[in-house]
Symmetry: C3
Subunit: 431 residues, 3 copies
Amino acid sequence: MSEQLRQQIYQELDSLVLIDPHTHINQLAPASTTLADILGYHYYTELAHSAGLARDQIEEEGIEPREKVARLMTQMGPLSNTIQYSWFLEMAQQLFGFEGTIIDQGNWESVYDAAAEKMAAPDWAEQVLRQSKLEAVFLTNDFDDPLEGFDTGVYIPCLRTDDLVFKLAEPSVRMRLEQATDCVLTDVASLRQSLSALFDHFTAHQARACAISLPPDFSPRRVSEGRAETALAALLAQEAGADASHLQSIGQFVFWTLAELCDQHQLPFDLMIGVNRGVYPGGVYQGQDLYDSRVSLIQYEELFNAFPAVTFPISVLASVTNQELTSYAWIFPNVVTNGHWWYSNTPTFIEHDAAARLEAVPRTKQIGYYSDMYKLEFALPKFNMYKRILSKILAERFVVDRRWSEEDAVDLGKQVLRGNVERIFNVGGGE
Amino acid sequence: MSEQLRQQIYQELDSLVLIDPHTHINQLAPASTTLADILGYHYYTELAHSAGLARDQIEEEGIEPREKVARLMTQMGPLSNTIQYSWFLEMAQQLFGFEGTIIDQGNWESVYDAAAEKMAAPDWAEQVLRQSKLEAVFLTNDFDDPLEGFDTGVYIPCLRTDDLVFKLAEPSVRMRLEQATDCVLTDVASLRQSLSALFDHFTAHQARACAISLPPDFSPRRVSEGRAETALAALLAQEAGADASHLQSIGQFVFWTLAELCDQHQLPFDLMIGVNRGVYPGGVYQGQDLYDSRVSLIQYEELFNAFPAVTFPISVLASVTNQELTSYAWIFPNVVTNGHWWYSNTPTFIEHDAAARLEAVPRTKQIGYYSDMYKLEFALPKFNMYKRILSKILAERFVVDRRWSEEDAVDLGKQVLRGNVERIFNVGGGE
Amino acid sequence: MSEQLRQQIYQELDSLVLIDPHTHINQLAPASTTLADILGYHYYTELAHSAGLARDQIEEEGIEPREKVARLMTQMGPLSNTIQYSWFLEMAQQLFGFEGTIIDQGNWESVYDAAAEKMAAPDWAEQVLRQSKLEAVFLTNDFDDPLEGFDTGVYIPCLRTDDLVFKLAEPSVRMRLEQATDCVLTDVASLRQSLSALFDHFTAHQARACAISLPPDFSPRRVSEGRAETALAALLAQEAGADASHLQSIGQFVFWTLAELCDQHQLPFDLMIGVNRGVYPGGVYQGQDLYDSRVSLIQYEELFNAFPAVTFPISVLASVTNQELTSYAWIFPNVVTNGHWWYSNTPTFIEHDAAARLEAVPRTKQIGYYSDMYKLEFALPKFNMYKRILSKILAERFVVDRRWSEEDAVDLGKQVLRGNVERIFNVGGGE
């Protein structure tokens, strides 16, 4: 019974047209041009490296796309169990017309060629969006992105702020900020002014969120104006050589100011909590980050209390933090659960984490999924994975365990997949 | 096969008459008088607030019960996915004769009226107990409760001690202690004498447990008499203004003395570990507490070793602590697993946590469930939820996976539901 | 469908002949001589003690094996739910010819006698290996084990190093080291020389791994030669009375040197992370250890980066650390997941942890299971438990959820059960 039920629910959920609320798409080159764009995604390069392929083989300067794929394919066998490999396979089947069930060293070239031909179509990005049933995707824009030359109804700007909070001591970051805002950074007033200018720029270009990823030891605090002034002076004078306490204070100040600006501009502030950067410096590009799972949302107590009018869609990197997220979203009106991030974006963790949320957090406060993709082709297999798991949970835990009707279960699924994205970010049909 | 099996096991478990080993029932007003008593439970008010209802709407002074329910019902839609809503629905169906499958703004008034009529019966509390198959429930009594005017065979006293450990610096708490024990608090000897008097009073009134909830950073330590004397002097002189180290020492001293008194009076000491109070001060009544899940039972090492003759039924707030609880109960003879507390009292966590316990902790050392209820009507749906999950675990993990007979599985379920409660707390048929 | 499928996959996996990559077998007395060797395993003595049997009853000096079993059997009823009891039962059924489904006070003597008769056979150890489909087992040898008088093709040496890292301050440990290596310990050079001699000795006797168990607060660090010299001098002068910082530094130095020697000798270094020793000193032998689950693999960041050529098969004690292990093995080429250790070696945790690994870690980097046994009879029921769970995961999560063929699923199972053990440790058919 249950398997057929899952299938039926899946079909219903799969009929939805979606908005993807968090991606790393480059709006000016949203889709892939060869399979190297697909297998160059860090999920494959890092796994291939983990399985034995040397970094310099993967990242050799000037390597041809076909050669890069050839090298990565030598390590696909060891990855064939992973859910990441299954994304690749499903993508090839659905988007490139591949009809087999395994892509290996014997047949990858035909997939490469078929993909290249498809990708050469001038409207390939639109084809992918249409086939993936995607109406729009959120971007992750650098703070100095001009946000011009694309349709912000399809590619929705989102202000990414990691550099501002954690790298303001770097001259290049401050220079980018000054150039983007036409404002010289000399004191706290000018810093606040330039941050404010960024929000003006982004909201003028239909940005619908501010976002940041945070290390496990970060704990937001309101910093006094005087403390911030001292810290900024030290930072301007000594840059990265300034005392760590100053760097920390200025990071805290910028973060808090961003929250204030989200409040003023009614922008949700996406917090992605728990990543340690550069844990494995010998790893491939974007394959160096890991985490310390000893993090708690209690670190965000002051923030959640200080900004009752700001919505915080929260992603946690480790599944062990998911119960806290569930509980904090159950208690704090401004905390919303947001997708399944990175190392928790695999079926066992998604199933456990999503089930816990679905039974304890108000249904209006759950953003089911985002793809986190760099190229449009990934939305289809990633969302399909999530929809299958969601269907399993709805079938087993709602229809069977709690005797819900299939219709009610489907409605719940649709709400976390689409309805809440519209309402929380003020996009799509909800406008 | 498995679904029918679950159902059969559930029927068997559901035939048991139970004793609820932890509730917050007011023995002088155990049942509800209107639906406002039901929906006024913090599980609903906090979720409704989280979903968007302002606190002053919920807690307006002098609001009529029907109006309060009307306001809360405006937010029931967003909660319809929650297991808490399902308790409400099942209660209405089983206790108030409601025949639908959804209670919303269109029909709640008829449920309100039906409930009010039922609740008006002079023997309503007894009806609820009977229909819920409850023989007795444990209370959570303030230390100065006179414990008079009720049947302690049905409403079993339990000495709650949070105020003594954490709030002795408050004059009102000390005054209540002095009045309850007729003993002036001047030094450690008088403090010990008054605590001892509380135990005499409670055990004279058939108390069967001492209980306390503890924050994640609490770690019991034996405090020397001299240290306690200094700390108490500071506390008496400066009250809440005393140095934090003094407040901590006196808390430690009181806690340790309570354990000594449990030892002398052969009372189990229920420890409910992991709550941070007042994390969201803007929340509704009883809807302000959350937690930091970074807590370990290693903090209780000294305590468990020091009191081998005291049984510690332990509840943990976060599911990530459940494996430690399982392991500590597997090793320490005096550690017993106790129910599924608060933020872990939802199906996904119960299923994972109970399964782990059932396969690794001696069957005699597991208290399956308690309702934690404030009004009698909640025992029925909460215990039913647990019994369904327990049936699922027994069916899937014992009968199917381990090839147990259905009878053996049912026996195990009955033992954790009832038998162990009798033996561990020395109540019911076991006496 | 799924239950039959599980069964089919199980049959395929069960046809494999295995190598057990971690046990505590005494190569000179590998099998049991009476049931007291079986029930004397700490998994039974500690549970029986936890359920109420006094330690001095279990550990009475000079007690006869039959009497010891008689006493333990008085507490088997309370343990009948545990997976540990099921190991005992399955072992009796498969190895001793027991035909019932319960062993209790009424019939244990016949099992005792049947077992004794079987165990009396001169080739009992070989019988057990054959019946358990075991080709070889890894040992856990003290560093001063002469490693003589046995077939290292069946009993594969493994250098256990806890004493060297954590107990070098004990004169008896240093004396054993000096005698084993014929090298007087006076300074860092001689310490390094003696450690090197151990590796020469072990690799000359076909050792295939170095291993250590580590407390949750251990964090490997490279220690300078000068710092180590100072620390060692203090340790030699003051022994356990030396300052804690010296003891810690020398432990760090020895650990790091072991990793260097693993590098030179191409030996994998098994890390078993997370145990606190002696938490319950009143417990039975080997039943006193527990843990603080607040540990992170970030503590091993420096180590993993410093030794890219050393393979680290890693076991974690707590299931809450399993996602970190999964992620670190996904990123670091030299990190391999290793079995399900101790308090995580029960079905609910194995199922959750193994599923997460199987879908995110390269299939070549997962060692499915080891028995951790002290007597050969335990491999059969423990591996069977794992194979059943593995079959369940493969059936439900690969064949059903991801539409794999049964053959592919079986291949994945075989690889984590056997193929990876051969390749990673350079043993068996892979040589």
